[in-house]
C-alpha cells in the first residue's frame, strides 16, 4: 500500500504542472491585465510601464510561469489586484468554502444515501417512484433558481433562516446554501445508491447472511451497504473537489466570500496570480480526493488490494 501511495503521489506531479501551465496560458490569453486595471481610461504610460515591470509582464510567458512556480514553492502565490497577497485571500476564502462544502457534503451523504437505501430496498413501489421523480426534479432545476427561490421564501418571506451569510459565517447561515449546493449531487448519490442496493439485495451473500439469522439491521448496514457504496464513494470523492470549485453560483447568491467568489473576481479583473493560485490549490484538492477514494475502496472491499 505504501508503494502504491508513493506511485500515485509521483503521478500527481506532471498532472499538477500540466494543469497549472494550461490555466496560466489561458488567463494570459484573456488580454492585457494592465489595461483592465484602469477602467475605461487609458493607463498613464509611466505608471503602466512600472506596473508591467513589477508584474514581470515584459518577460516571455514561460519565464513568467517559471517565476510564478518558483514563488509558489516558497509559499508566495503573488499579489492580487487589490494589493493583498493571494495567500491571504486563500486564508480568508478556503475556510469559508470548506465549511460550506462540509455542510453540503454531510447533507448529501446522509440524505442521499438514506433516500437511496429506502428506494433500493423497495424497488418498484410507490416510495421508490417518489424518490426517482423527486431526484429528477432536483437535477433538472438549475442551482440559481433553487437558490433564489429558497432565499426569497425561507429567508425573506418566512424569515426562518438568514437569507445571506454574514462575515462571521455562522452555522445556521450555511444551512440554506448547503442545501442548494448539495441538491444536485444529492440526487445523483440517491440514484447511485438505489441502483447499487437494488442489485446487491438479491445476491448470494445477503441471502447467506439472512439465512445465518443475523439481525436485519446488521445485514443492511454492514453487509449490504458496505458493498453497495463503492460507486457512491467514487462519486462523492470527486464531488468534494466539484463542490469546492462549483460553489461559484451558490456563493454568489448567499454572499459567501469563498473560493468561487475569489476566482470570479480574479477572472473578471484579469488577475493571473489569483486565478492560477486558487486553481492550483483546487487541483491539489481534486488529486488528494481521488487518492483518498482509491484508498477507501480497500476499506470497503477487502478483496481490493494495492501493491
Amino acid at each position: 500500500m505504501g508503494r502504491y501511495v508513493v506511485r500515485r503521489l509521483l503521478q500527481m506531479v506532471p498532472v499538477f504542472i500540466g494543469t497549472t501551465f494550461l490555466i496560466f496560458v489561458m488567463v494570459y490569453a484573456l488580454g492585457d491585465p494592465v489595461a483592465a486595471m484602469f477602467g475605461d481610461r487609458t493607463p498613464d504610460p509611466a505608471t503602466a510601464a512600472q506596473i508591467r515591470e513589477s508584474l514581470h509582464l515584459n518577460d516571455p510567458l514561460w519565464s513568467q510561469y517559471l517565476q510564478y512556480m518558483a514563488g509558489i514553492f516558497q509559499g508566495d502565490f503573488g499579489t492580487a489586484f487589490n494589493g493583498r497577497p493571494v495567500i491571504e485571500l486563500m486564508g480568508d476564502a478556503f475556510p469559508n468554502t470548506v465549511q460550506l462544502t462540509l455542510v453540503a457534503f454531510v447533507i448529501e451523504l446522509v440524505v442521499g444515501v438514506t433516500l437511496g437505501v429506502v428506494a433500493g430496498m423497495r424497488r418498484g413501489r410507490l416510495i421508490d417512484t417518489g424518490v426517482l421523480v423527486l431526484t429528477l426534479i432536483v437535477i433538472s432545476i438549475p442551482t440559481f433558481v433553487t437558490g433564489y427561490l429558497l432565499q426569497y421564501f425561507v429567508g425573506v418571506k418566512w424569515g426562518a433562516l438568514p437569507p445571506s451569510v454574514s462575515s462571521e459565517v455562522r452555522f445556521e447561515e450555511l444551512i440554506l446554501p448547503g442545501i442548494v449546493l448539495a441538491g444536485v449531487s444529492l440526487a445523483y448519490v440517491a440514484r447511485l445508491t438505489r441502483t447499487s442496493i437494488a442489485e446487491n439485495i438479491r445476491s448470494d451473500y445477503i441471502r447467506t447472511a439472512t439465512a445465518k439469522g443475523l439481525p436485519r439491521r446488521r445485514v443492511i448496514s454492514v453487509h449490504l451497504l458496505r458493498n453497495s457504496l463503492i460507486p457512491v464513494v467514487t462519486f462523492l470523492g470527486t464531488d468534494i473537489g466539484g463542490l469546492m470549485a462549483g460553489a461559484i453560483v451558490t456563493e454568489r447568491i448567499f454572499n459567501l466570500q469563498g473560493v468561487g467568489f475569489q476566482l470570479y473576481q480574479g477572472i473578471l479583473r484579469q488577475n493571473a496570480p489569483t486565478v492560477v493560485g486558487f486553481v492550483t490549490v483546487l487541483v491539489v484538492v481534486f488529486l488528494a480526493a481521488n487518492l483518498l477514494v482509491d484508498l477507501l475502496y480497500a476499506v470497503l472491499d477487502p478483496r481490493i488490494r494495492y501493491a
Binding site: A35, A36, D44, T47, N255
Partner: protein, 542 residues
C-alpha cells in the same frame, strides 16, 4: 480487521471536521448596534490609497474618511472650500493654497500644507504605481517624476512648494482657471505621516481627516466606520457610524434589505427596479448620475475617418430611439442624453439641454437621408463592440443596432460584436485595433464640463478612445482654461463641445441614473452627484 480500523479513522476525521464547522460562528449578530447605518459595499479594486482608487467602492470609503481642499455640494455639485481656507491665483497658472488651521487627522496628527504636498508627490511618482497619477500631470515637473519612457529623474514635483505650515503653492504647466474645481477629487486627499512610515499598517486601517474614521476593517467582508472626533467641518455625521458590508451579488443585498438585515443599498439589481418602489414602500430614489454613455468610432484611420462620415454618424445618432430603449430595457434608470456632459453639472457648470439638438432626436426619415448623403455605412455595415463579461451591455447594444437596422431597412446593417473580457476590449481600443463602432462611457471625476471634454476629446488625451484630433477644439480648450471668469470659461467649453457634436465623434446615448433603496430603519438618504449616498446625513430611527 484492517478495513474496519481504517473506517473508524475516516469516520473520526469527518466528525472532527463537522465539529469545527459547528463551532465556527458566534451568536452575536453583526451591525445590529443602535444608531449604525448598515450599507451595502463592494470589495475595493485597489488598496485604499487616495491616488490609487479609481472606482466607486473604494471611493465611497475615501469620501467618508477624507476631507479634501474642496468638496462638492451634494445637491448642486458646486465645488466649495472644505479643508482649504482659500485658493487664489493671479495668472490662472500659479495657485496659492491656504489650508485651514487646527485641522487634524483622526490619529491626532495636524493637517498641514506638507500633508498635501507629500501626498501629491507620492501620487505622481511613477514608481509608486498609483493609478490616478495622471491627475497630477498638469503640475509642473510631472514629466520628470513620471516620464513616458525610462525611470523617473526626480522624486518630487517641481511645481509644488511648501511656503509655511499652512500654505503651499502649485505651478501648473499651462493656464487652467478651473483647476481648483478638481481638488475635491479623492486623488488630492492629504496623507498623514503614518502612510509613509508604516504603509502596510496604513492600508490595514486607513487614517484620514474626514467626518468618519475607520474603526475596524476586515478585508473582503466588512468595514466599520465611526464619527471622527477630530473632525471640525460642516458634514458632521448624524448617525453613530456606518457598517459597510461586502456583497458579491446585488440580488442578495436586495434580499437582505427586504429581510431587514441591511439599511442602504445603492446598487439595486436591474431586474428588481420595476418592483423596487412598491417593495420598499417608496424608500427608493433614481436620479441622473455623472455618467454618460456613448458609442464611439475610430477616427484616426480606416473607413470611419473619411470625409462625409460625420454625416453618417449623425444619421446613426438620429436612428437611435433613445426614449424607447431607456424605458424598455432600463425601466427609466437611464435618461436620454442631450449633450456630452451630465445633468448633475447643472446649467452653471456646463450641462445643456439643447446643444446636441436634432442630432440626438429620433428621426428615421432624416436619419436614412443623412446616412445616404454621407456615402452609407462603410461596406454597408457596422458593428458595435462591447465587453461581454460584465455590466450586461449586450441588451442595449442589440437594441441600438435593432433601431438602426429598422431605419435602414436592413437586418444585417448593424450587429453587436461582443469582446470576451474587459481587458481585451480595452487592449483593442488602446492599441487602435477597433475598426467600427464601440461602446464608450465616462464617469466624471469632478462636476465640471472640462472633465467631460479634455480627457476624452483633446488631441492625445488619456481617454481619447476614438483618437480624434481637432486643432480648433484644442485651441478652444486652451482658451477656456486661461479664462479667469468661470462663466465665460464654461461658455467656451460649450463651444468646444459643439465641435465634437458637429463631427459626432461620440454619439451620446443616455445618462446613467444612480438608484438607491433603503429600509424603514433609516431616513434622510440622498445621493450626491457621484450617486454615492450622503452617509453623514442618514439618520437611524431608534
Amino acid at each position: 480487521m484492517r478495513g474496519a480500523r481504517s473506517a473508524t479513522w475516516v469516520a473520526g476525521a469527518i466528525a472532527i471536521a463537522l465539529g469545527a464547522t459547528a463551532c465556527g460562528g458566534s451568536s452575536d449578530s453583526a451591525g445590529s448596534e443602535a444608531g449604525v447605518v448598515r450599507a451595502a459595499w463592494g470589495d475595493p479594486q485597489n488598496p485604499l490609497e487616495p491616488a490609487n482608487t479609481t472606482e466607486v467602492q473604494g471611493g465611497k470609503v475615501l469620501d467618508m474618511i477624507f476631507s479634501n481642499l474642496k468638496s462638492y455640494d451634494p445637491k448642486t455639485g458646486e465645488a466649495k472650500n472644505d479643508a482649504a481656507e482659500s485658493i487664489d491665483t493671479k495668472d490662472q497658472q500659479t495657485f496659492t493654497v491656504k489650508v485651514k488651521k487646527g485641522l487634524k487627522f483622526s490619529n491626532g496628527e495636524a493637517v498641514t500644507a506638507k500633508s498635501f504636498v507629500d501626498a501629491w508627490n507620492y501620487g505622481a511618482l511613477a514608481t509608486n504605481q498609483q493609478k490616478n497619477s495622471y491627475f497630477f500631470s498638469d503640475i509642473e515637473g510631472y514629466d520628470k517624476v513620471a516620464p513616458a519612457k525610462g525611470e523617473p529623474t526626480a522624486k518630487t514635483l517641481s511645481g509644488l512648494k511648501v511656503v509655511d505650515d499652512h500654505t503651499f503653492t502649485v505651478k501648473l504647466t499651462q493656464k487652467m482657471s478651473t483647476w481648483p474645481t478638481r481638488l475635491g477629487y479623492k486623488a488630492f486627499a492629504p496623507l498623514p505621516k503614518k502612510f509613509f512610515s508604516d504603509h502596510k499598517g496604513y492600508l490595514d486601517k486607513p487614517v484620514g481627516n474626514g467626518p468618519y474614521k475607520v474603526d475596524s476593517y476586515a478585508k473582503g467582508s466588512q468595514m466599520k466606520l465611526v464619527p471622527n472626533p477630530e473632525y471640525k467641518g460642516d458634514d458632521k455625521p448624524k448617525n453613530k457610524g456606518v457598517l459597510l458590508k461586502v456583497y458579491t451579488d446585488s440580488n442578495t443585498a436586495y434580499s437582505d434589505l427586504q429581510a431587514g438585515n441591511l439599511d442602504v443599498l445603492d446598487s439595486l439589481p436591474a431586474e428588481q427596479i420595476k418592483n423596487a418602489e412598491t417593495d420598499l414602500q417608496g424608500n427608493y430614489v433614481s436620479q441622473p448620475a455623472g455618467i454618460v454613455q456613448t458609442v464611439s468610432f475610430p477616427l484616426d484611420k480606416g473607413a470611419w475617418s473619411k470625409k462625409g462620415m460625420e454625416k453618417v454618424r449623425k444619421g446613426i445618432s438620429m436612428a437611435i430611439d433613445r426614449k424607447t430603449i431607456t424605458e424598455k430595457i432600463y425601466h427609466g434608470t437611464r435618461t436620454p442624453a442631450t449633450d456630452l456632459t451630465s445633468p448633475v453639472l447643472g446649467d452653471a457648470n456646463g450641462y445643456s439641454k439643447d446643444i446636441c439638438g436634432d442630432a440626438c432626436e429620433y428621426n428615421p426619415t432624416e436619419a436614412k437621408k443623412l446616412i445616404k448623403e454621407g456615402g452609407g455605412l462603410p461596406g454597408g455595415k457596422m458593428t458595435i463592440s462591447y465587453n461581454a463579461d460584465k455590466d450586461s451591455h449586450k441588451e442595449w447594444v442589440d437594441a441600438v443596432c435593432n433601431s438602426v437596422n429598422k431605419v435602414l431597412g436592413d437586418d444585417k446593417a448593424c450587429v453587436g460584436n461582443p469582446v470576451g473580457t474587459f481587458a481585451d476590449f480595452r487592449t483593442q481600443i488602446t492599441k487602435g485595433e477597433m475598426t467600427s463602432g464601440f461602446r464608450a462611457g465616462w464617469q466624471m471625476d469632478y462636476p465640471q464640463i472640462e472633465n467631460f471634454l479634455t480627457p476624452l476629446y483633446g488631441t492625445g488625451a488619456s481617454s481619447n478612445d476614438s483618437h480624434w484630433s481637432n486643432k480648433e477644439f484644442d485651441g478652444l480648450l486652451k482658451k477656456a482654461a486661461a479664462e479667469p471668469d468661470t462663466k465665460k470659461a464654461t461658455k467656451t467649453y460649450q463651444d468646444a463641445e459643439k465641435l465634437v457634436l458637429d463631427d459626432m465623434v461620440a454619439i451620446p446615448l443616455w445618462y446613467q441614473n444612480g438608484v438607491a433603496g433603503w429600509s424603514q430603519n433609516v431616513s434622510g438618504v440622498t445621493l450626491d452627484p457621484f450617486s454615492v449616498p450622503v452617509f453623514s446625513d442618514i439618520k437611524v430611527k431608534a
